[in-house]
Symmetry: C2
Protein backbone atom coordinates (compact mmCIF):
# COMPACT_ATOMS: atom_id res chain seq x y z
CA UNK A 1 0.00 0.00 0.00
CA UNK A 2 2.86 2.35 0.89
CA UNK A 3 4.46 1.62 -2.49
CA UNK A 4 1.24 2.52 -4.23
CA UNK A 5 0.96 5.83 -2.32
CA UNK A 6 4.50 6.75 -3.22
CA UNK A 7 3.84 5.99 -6.85
CA UNK A 8 0.65 8.07 -6.79
CA UNK A 9 2.51 11.01 -5.26
CA UNK A 10 5.19 10.61 -7.84
CA UNK A 11 2.62 10.75 -10.65
CA UNK A 12 0.95 13.82 -9.11
CA UNK A 13 4.31 15.56 -8.79
CA UNK A 14 5.06 14.86 -12.42
CA UNK A 15 1.64 16.12 -13.47
CA UNK A 16 2.15 19.27 -11.43
CA UNK A 17 5.60 19.93 -12.84
CA UNK A 18 4.22 19.27 -16.34
CA UNK A 19 1.35 21.67 -15.59
CA UNK A 20 3.75 24.37 -14.41
CA UNK A 21 5.71 24.10 -17.64
CA UNK A 22 2.71 24.71 -19.87
CA UNK A 23 3.66 28.37 -20.25
CA UNK A 24 7.18 29.23 -21.41
CA UNK A 25 8.56 32.60 -22.45
CA UNK A 26 11.32 32.09 -25.02
CA UNK A 27 13.93 34.60 -26.21
CA UNK A 28 14.45 34.63 -29.98
CA UNK A 29 17.62 36.76 -30.02
CA UNK A 30 17.80 39.89 -32.15
CA UNK A 31 19.93 38.98 -35.17
CA UNK A 32 19.39 36.31 -37.80
CA UNK A 33 20.49 32.84 -36.57
CA UNK A 34 20.54 33.91 -32.90
CA UNK A 35 18.02 31.26 -31.89
CA UNK A 36 19.52 28.51 -29.70
CA UNK A 37 18.71 24.82 -30.20
CA UNK A 38 17.01 24.82 -26.77
CA UNK A 39 14.68 27.61 -27.86
CA UNK A 40 13.93 25.87 -31.19
CA UNK A 41 12.89 22.67 -29.38
CA UNK A 42 10.57 24.53 -26.99
CA UNK A 43 8.89 26.36 -29.89
CA UNK A 44 8.53 23.12 -31.90
CA UNK A 45 6.73 21.43 -28.98
CA UNK A 46 4.25 24.31 -28.45
CA UNK A 47 0.57 23.92 -29.32
CA UNK A 48 0.18 27.72 -29.52
CA UNK A 49 2.90 30.32 -30.02
CA UNK A 50 2.27 33.98 -29.14
CA UNK A 51 4.45 36.98 -29.97
CA UNK A 52 4.67 40.31 -31.75
CA UNK A 53 4.68 40.08 -35.54
CA UNK A 54 8.45 40.69 -35.50
CA UNK A 55 9.07 37.98 -32.88
CA UNK A 56 6.93 35.42 -34.73
CA UNK A 57 8.71 36.20 -38.03
CA UNK A 58 12.03 35.39 -36.32
CA UNK A 59 10.92 31.88 -35.35
CA UNK A 60 8.28 31.03 -37.99
CA UNK A 61 10.12 28.01 -39.41
CA UNK A 62 10.07 26.26 -36.01
CA UNK A 63 6.34 26.72 -35.26
CA UNK A 64 4.49 23.40 -35.65
CA UNK A 65 1.25 24.41 -33.87
CA UNK A 66 -0.89 27.53 -34.15
CA UNK A 67 0.42 31.06 -33.78
CA UNK A 68 -1.29 34.24 -32.61
CA UNK A 69 0.02 37.79 -33.06
CA UNK A 70 0.04 39.83 -29.82
CA UNK A 71 -1.21 43.36 -30.23
CA UNK A 72 -2.16 45.08 -27.01
CA UNK A 73 0.59 43.91 -24.66
CA UNK A 74 -2.01 44.67 -21.97
CA UNK A 75 -2.80 42.92 -18.68
CA UNK A 76 -5.99 41.61 -20.34
CA UNK A 77 -3.98 40.01 -23.16
CA UNK A 78 -1.51 38.47 -20.68
CA UNK A 79 -4.45 37.03 -18.66
CA UNK A 80 -5.94 35.44 -21.77
CA UNK A 81 -2.61 33.79 -22.55
CA UNK A 82 -2.36 32.47 -18.98
CA UNK A 83 -5.90 31.08 -19.25
CA UNK A 84 -5.09 29.29 -22.50
CA UNK A 85 -1.91 27.85 -20.95
CA UNK A 86 -4.09 25.98 -18.40
CA UNK A 87 -5.34 23.78 -21.24
CA UNK A 88 -2.53 23.89 -23.77
CA UNK A 89 1.23 23.99 -24.08
CA UNK A 90 1.73 27.71 -24.79
CA UNK A 91 4.91 29.57 -25.71
CA UNK A 92 5.34 33.36 -25.76
CA UNK A 93 8.23 34.50 -27.97
CA UNK A 94 10.08 37.62 -26.81
CA UNK A 95 12.62 39.25 -29.16
CA UNK A 96 16.08 39.41 -27.64
CA UNK A 97 16.10 38.05 -24.07
CA UNK A 98 12.84 37.84 -22.10
CA UNK A 99 14.67 39.20 -19.01
CA UNK A 100 16.08 42.30 -20.74
CA UNK A 101 13.18 44.77 -20.94
CA UNK A 102 11.22 41.81 -22.34
CA UNK A 103 8.10 39.74 -21.59
CA UNK A 104 9.75 37.53 -18.94
CA UNK A 105 8.45 39.53 -15.98
CA UNK A 106 4.88 39.65 -17.31
CA UNK A 107 4.15 35.98 -16.56
CA UNK A 108 4.81 33.38 -13.87
CA UNK A 109 6.40 31.00 -16.34
CA UNK A 110 9.50 29.12 -17.34
CA UNK A 111 11.89 31.45 -19.16
CA UNK A 112 14.37 30.40 -21.85
CA UNK A 113 17.07 33.05 -22.51
CA UNK A 114 17.97 34.55 -25.88
CA UNK A 115 20.67 36.93 -27.14
CA UNK A 116 19.69 40.52 -26.29
CA UNK A 117 20.50 43.83 -27.97
CA UNK A 118 22.53 44.68 -24.85
CA UNK A 119 24.87 41.76 -25.57
CA UNK A 120 25.31 42.73 -29.23
CA UNK A 121 26.00 46.34 -28.19
CA UNK A 122 28.58 45.34 -25.54
CA UNK A 123 30.29 43.06 -28.10
CA UNK A 124 30.60 46.00 -30.51
CA UNK A 125 31.72 48.42 -27.78
CA UNK A 126 34.23 45.97 -26.27
CA UNK A 127 32.76 46.55 -22.80
CA UNK A 128 32.01 43.90 -20.14
CA UNK A 129 28.52 43.71 -18.60
CA UNK A 130 30.15 43.86 -15.16
CA UNK A 131 31.37 47.39 -15.99
CA UNK A 132 27.96 48.84 -16.90
CA UNK A 133 24.52 49.55 -15.49
CA UNK A 134 21.67 48.88 -17.95
CA UNK A 135 18.66 51.23 -17.83
CA UNK A 136 15.32 50.80 -19.58
CA UNK A 137 13.83 54.07 -20.84
CA UNK A 138 11.11 52.29 -22.85
CA UNK A 139 8.85 51.60 -19.91
CA UNK A 140 9.76 54.32 -17.44
CA UNK A 141 11.31 57.75 -17.08
CA UNK A 142 15.10 57.63 -16.69
CA UNK A 143 16.25 60.68 -14.78
CA UNK A 144 19.61 62.41 -15.02
CA UNK A 145 20.26 62.23 -11.27
CA UNK A 146 20.12 58.44 -11.36
CA UNK A 147 22.37 58.30 -14.46
CA UNK A 148 24.96 60.57 -12.80
CA UNK A 149 24.81 58.44 -9.66
CA UNK A 150 25.65 55.25 -11.58
CA UNK A 151 28.33 57.03 -13.66
CA UNK A 152 30.41 57.45 -10.49
CA UNK A 153 31.03 53.70 -10.55
CA UNK A 154 30.01 52.36 -13.95
CA UNK A 155 29.43 53.12 -17.59
CA UNK A 156 25.73 53.41 -18.42
CA UNK A 157 23.77 51.77 -21.23
CA UNK A 158 20.23 53.06 -21.88
CA UNK A 159 17.60 51.22 -23.95
CA UNK A 160 15.60 54.00 -25.60
CA UNK A 161 13.10 54.89 -28.29
CA UNK A 162 12.83 58.11 -30.31
CA UNK A 163 10.68 59.72 -27.61
CA UNK A 164 13.68 59.73 -25.23
CA UNK A 165 14.87 63.32 -24.71
CA UNK A 166 18.61 62.94 -25.33
CA UNK A 167 19.17 66.71 -24.84
CA UNK A 168 18.79 66.19 -21.10
CA UNK A 169 22.15 64.38 -21.10
CA UNK A 170 23.67 67.78 -21.99
CA UNK A 171 27.42 67.75 -22.55
CA UNK A 172 27.87 64.03 -21.85
CA UNK A 173 29.69 62.19 -24.64
CA UNK A 174 27.55 59.34 -25.95
CA UNK A 175 27.67 56.50 -28.46
CA UNK A 176 24.36 55.76 -30.20
CA UNK A 177 23.78 52.27 -31.60
CA UNK A 178 20.60 52.17 -33.67
CA UNK A 179 18.62 49.33 -35.30
CA UNK A 180 21.12 46.61 -34.49
CA UNK A 181 21.04 43.66 -36.90
CA UNK A 182 18.73 45.66 -39.14
CA UNK A 183 19.91 48.85 -40.90
CA UNK A 184 22.55 49.39 -38.23
CA UNK A 185 24.03 52.83 -37.52
CA UNK A 186 26.63 53.80 -34.91
CA UNK A 187 27.26 57.49 -34.07
CA UNK A 188 29.36 59.24 -31.47
CA UNK A 189 29.24 62.79 -30.09
CA UNK A 190 27.89 65.18 -27.48
CA UNK A 191 24.35 64.38 -26.35
CA UNK A 192 23.33 68.02 -26.82
CA UNK A 193 24.14 67.73 -30.54
CA UNK A 194 22.34 64.42 -31.16
CA UNK A 195 18.82 63.51 -32.29
CA UNK A 196 17.26 60.07 -31.89
CA UNK A 197 15.63 58.66 -35.01
CA UNK A 198 14.94 55.03 -34.09
CA UNK A 199 12.75 53.19 -31.57
CA UNK A 200 15.55 50.64 -31.25
CA UNK A 201 18.32 52.84 -29.89
CA UNK A 202 21.00 52.01 -27.34
CA UNK A 203 22.73 54.99 -25.74
CA UNK A 204 26.15 54.22 -24.24
CA UNK A 205 27.83 56.65 -21.84
CA UNK A 206 31.38 55.69 -20.88
CA UNK A 207 32.28 56.27 -17.24
Amino acid sequence: MKGLLVRREDILRRLRSWRLKMLTVVGSGICRDHLTDRAKKIIERAEVVYGSKKALDNVREFIKGKFKVMKGFSEAEYSEIVEESKRKNVVVVSTGDPMVAGLGTKFHAEVEPGISSVQVALAKLGVDLCDVVVMNAHSKEVNLREIMHFLKFRSVLILANRRFDIKKLGELKVVLLENMCMNERVREGLASEMELSSDYTIIFIRR
Copy 2:
Protein backbone atom coordinates in the same frame (compact mmCIF):
# COMPACT_ATOMS: atom_id res chain seq x y z
CA MET B 1 42.27 53.89 -65.22
CA LYS B 2 40.00 55.38 -62.56
CA GLY B 3 37.86 52.25 -62.70
CA LEU B 4 40.93 50.12 -62.08
CA LEU B 5 41.94 52.23 -59.06
CA VAL B 6 38.47 51.91 -57.58
CA ARG B 7 38.53 48.17 -58.03
CA ARG B 8 41.97 47.93 -56.41
CA GLU B 9 40.77 49.98 -53.42
CA ASP B 10 37.74 47.78 -53.19
CA ILE B 11 39.90 44.67 -53.12
CA LEU B 12 42.19 46.18 -50.49
CA ARG B 13 39.20 47.13 -48.35
CA ARG B 14 37.89 43.60 -48.59
CA LEU B 15 41.28 42.17 -47.68
CA ARG B 16 41.53 44.50 -44.70
CA SER B 17 38.04 43.67 -43.44
CA TRP B 18 38.84 39.98 -43.92
CA ARG B 19 42.12 40.46 -42.04
CA LEU B 20 40.37 42.20 -39.15
CA LYS B 21 37.99 39.28 -38.82
CA MET B 22 40.72 36.68 -38.46
CA LEU B 23 40.27 36.64 -34.69
CA THR B 24 36.79 36.09 -33.27
CA VAL B 25 35.80 35.44 -29.67
CA VAL B 26 32.66 33.29 -29.59
CA GLY B 27 30.32 32.63 -26.64
CA SER B 28 29.27 29.00 -26.27
CA GLY B 29 26.50 29.56 -23.70
CA ILE B 30 26.50 27.64 -20.44
CA CYS B 31 23.84 24.94 -20.83
CA ARG B 32 23.58 22.12 -23.34
CA ASP B 33 22.17 23.33 -26.70
CA HIS B 34 22.79 27.01 -25.90
CA LEU B 35 25.01 27.50 -28.94
CA THR B 36 23.44 29.74 -31.62
CA ASP B 37 23.58 28.94 -35.32
CA ARG B 38 25.74 32.06 -35.84
CA ALA B 39 28.29 30.76 -33.33
CA LYS B 40 28.28 27.28 -34.90
CA LYS B 41 29.07 28.73 -38.34
CA ILE B 42 31.96 30.84 -37.03
CA ILE B 43 33.47 27.83 -35.25
CA GLU B 44 33.05 25.60 -38.34
CA ARG B 45 34.97 28.12 -40.48
CA ALA B 46 37.92 28.44 -38.03
CA GLU B 47 41.32 26.98 -38.86
CA VAL B 48 42.27 26.92 -35.16
CA VAL B 49 39.91 26.97 -32.16
CA TYR B 50 41.22 27.95 -28.70
CA GLY B 51 39.43 27.60 -25.37
CA SER B 52 39.46 26.06 -21.92
CA LYS B 53 38.87 22.30 -21.86
CA LYS B 54 35.28 22.95 -20.75
CA ALA B 55 34.65 25.50 -23.50
CA LEU B 56 36.07 23.21 -26.21
CA ASP B 57 33.99 20.27 -24.94
CA ASN B 58 30.84 22.42 -25.40
CA VAL B 59 31.54 23.02 -29.09
CA ARG B 60 33.60 19.97 -30.12
CA GLU B 61 31.15 18.67 -32.73
CA PHE B 62 31.44 21.95 -34.72
CA ILE B 63 35.26 22.15 -34.85
CA LYS B 64 36.50 21.30 -38.35
CA GLY B 65 40.08 22.62 -37.95
CA LYS B 66 42.62 22.18 -35.16
CA PHE B 67 41.91 22.94 -31.51
CA LYS B 68 44.23 23.99 -28.71
CA VAL B 69 43.44 23.93 -24.98
CA MET B 70 44.17 27.23 -23.20
CA LYS B 71 45.89 26.81 -19.87
CA GLY B 72 47.54 29.93 -18.57
CA PHE B 73 45.00 32.62 -19.49
CA SER B 74 48.03 34.91 -19.30
CA GLU B 75 49.04 37.94 -21.36
CA ALA B 76 51.70 35.74 -22.99
CA GLU B 77 49.10 33.19 -24.09
CA TYR B 78 46.82 35.94 -25.43
CA SER B 79 49.75 37.41 -27.42
CA GLU B 80 50.53 34.03 -28.98
CA ILE B 81 46.89 33.69 -30.07
CA VAL B 82 46.95 37.19 -31.61
CA GLU B 83 50.20 36.30 -33.45
CA GLU B 84 48.64 33.13 -34.86
CA SER B 85 45.54 35.08 -35.96
CA LYS B 86 47.77 37.15 -38.28
CA ARG B 87 48.24 34.05 -40.43
CA LYS B 88 45.16 31.97 -39.74
CA ASN B 89 41.43 32.26 -39.08
CA VAL B 90 41.42 31.82 -35.29
CA VAL B 91 38.45 31.50 -32.92
CA VAL B 92 38.60 31.71 -29.13
CA VAL B 93 35.63 30.04 -27.43
CA SER B 94 34.47 31.62 -24.18
CA THR B 95 31.89 29.76 -22.03
CA GLY B 96 28.74 31.81 -21.49
CA ASP B 97 29.01 35.26 -23.09
CA PRO B 98 32.46 36.71 -23.92
CA MET B 99 31.32 40.10 -22.54
CA VAL B 100 30.17 38.77 -19.14
CA ALA B 101 33.35 38.25 -17.12
CA GLY B 102 34.61 36.42 -20.22
CA LEU B 103 37.45 36.58 -22.75
CA GLY B 104 35.89 39.33 -24.89
CA THR B 105 37.89 42.16 -23.31
CA LYS B 106 41.23 40.30 -23.61
CA PHE B 107 41.48 40.76 -27.39
CA HIS B 108 40.83 43.38 -30.06
CA ALA B 109 38.56 41.06 -32.00
CA GLU B 110 35.09 40.46 -33.34
CA VAL B 111 32.86 39.14 -30.56
CA GLU B 112 29.88 36.81 -31.05
CA PRO B 113 27.55 36.71 -28.00
CA GLY B 114 26.40 33.57 -26.15
CA ILE B 115 23.93 32.88 -23.33
CA SER B 116 25.56 33.75 -19.99
CA SER B 117 25.03 32.38 -16.48
CA VAL B 118 23.63 35.82 -15.58
CA GLN B 119 20.79 35.32 -18.07
CA VAL B 120 19.99 31.82 -16.79
CA ALA B 121 20.01 33.13 -13.20
CA LEU B 122 17.71 36.08 -14.01
CA ALA B 123 15.33 33.71 -15.84
CA LYS B 124 15.13 31.52 -12.71
CA LEU B 125 14.79 34.50 -10.36
CA GLY B 126 12.20 36.25 -12.54
CA VAL B 127 14.20 39.49 -12.43
CA ASP B 128 14.91 41.86 -15.34
CA LEU B 129 18.52 42.85 -16.15
CA CYS B 130 17.43 46.51 -16.01
CA ASP B 131 16.67 46.05 -12.29
CA VAL B 132 20.09 44.70 -11.27
CA VAL B 133 23.77 45.58 -11.17
CA VAL B 134 26.09 42.69 -12.05
CA MET B 135 29.43 42.47 -10.17
CA ASN B 136 32.37 40.21 -10.95
CA ALA B 137 34.13 38.91 -7.85
CA HIS B 138 36.25 36.41 -9.85
CA SER B 139 38.77 38.93 -11.06
CA LYS B 140 38.66 41.66 -8.43
CA GLU B 141 37.71 42.41 -4.84
CA VAL B 142 34.05 43.37 -4.45
CA ASN B 143 33.66 45.57 -1.40
CA LEU B 144 30.61 45.94 0.80
CA ARG B 145 30.49 49.72 0.45
CA GLU B 146 30.03 49.42 -3.31
CA ILE B 147 27.36 46.71 -2.91
CA MET B 148 25.40 48.85 -0.41
CA HIS B 149 25.69 51.82 -2.76
CA PHE B 150 24.10 49.90 -5.66
CA LEU B 151 21.45 48.35 -3.37
CA LYS B 152 19.95 51.81 -2.87
CA PHE B 153 18.76 51.68 -6.50
CA ARG B 154 19.03 48.10 -7.71
CA SER B 155 19.20 44.45 -6.79
CA VAL B 156 22.75 43.08 -6.97
CA LEU B 157 24.01 39.92 -8.66
CA ILE B 158 27.58 38.81 -7.85
CA LEU B 159 29.57 36.28 -9.90
CA ALA B 160 31.72 34.48 -7.31
CA ASN B 161 33.91 31.49 -6.60
CA ARG B 162 34.38 29.61 -3.33
CA ARG B 163 37.11 32.02 -2.19
CA PHE B 164 34.53 34.83 -1.94
CA ASP B 165 34.00 35.71 1.72
CA ILE B 166 30.20 35.65 1.94
CA LYS B 167 30.29 36.42 5.67
CA LYS B 168 31.14 40.03 4.84
CA LEU B 169 27.57 40.44 3.55
CA GLY B 170 26.45 39.97 7.18
CA GLU B 171 22.71 39.97 7.74
CA LEU B 172 21.80 40.56 4.08
CA LYS B 173 19.34 37.99 2.73
CA VAL B 174 20.80 36.22 -0.30
CA VAL B 175 19.89 33.62 -2.90
CA LEU B 176 22.77 31.36 -3.98
CA LEU B 177 22.61 29.72 -7.41
CA GLU B 178 25.39 27.18 -7.81
CA ASN B 179 26.66 25.13 -10.77
CA MET B 180 23.94 26.18 -13.16
CA CYS B 181 23.22 23.63 -15.92
CA MET B 182 25.47 21.17 -14.11
CA ASN B 183 24.53 19.78 -10.67
CA GLU B 184 22.43 22.85 -9.94
CA ARG B 185 21.59 23.94 -6.40
CA VAL B 186 19.58 26.97 -5.25
CA ARG B 187 19.64 28.08 -1.58
CA GLU B 188 18.21 31.05 0.27
CA GLY B 189 19.08 32.55 3.65
CA LEU B 190 21.13 35.06 5.61
CA ALA B 191 24.64 35.60 4.22
CA SER B 192 26.13 35.16 7.71
CA GLU B 193 24.77 31.59 7.83
CA MET B 194 25.94 30.55 4.34
CA GLU B 195 29.09 28.85 3.02
CA LEU B 196 30.12 28.82 -0.63
CA SER B 197 31.05 25.43 -2.03
CA SER B 198 31.31 26.05 -5.78
CA ASP B 199 33.53 28.11 -8.08
CA TYR B 200 30.45 28.73 -10.23
CA THR B 201 28.27 30.61 -7.77
CA ILE B 202 25.88 33.48 -8.36
CA ILE B 203 24.87 35.48 -5.30
CA PHE B 204 21.63 37.43 -5.67
CA ILE B 205 20.69 40.19 -3.22
CA ARG B 206 17.21 41.63 -3.73
CA ARG B 207 16.95 45.39 -3.28
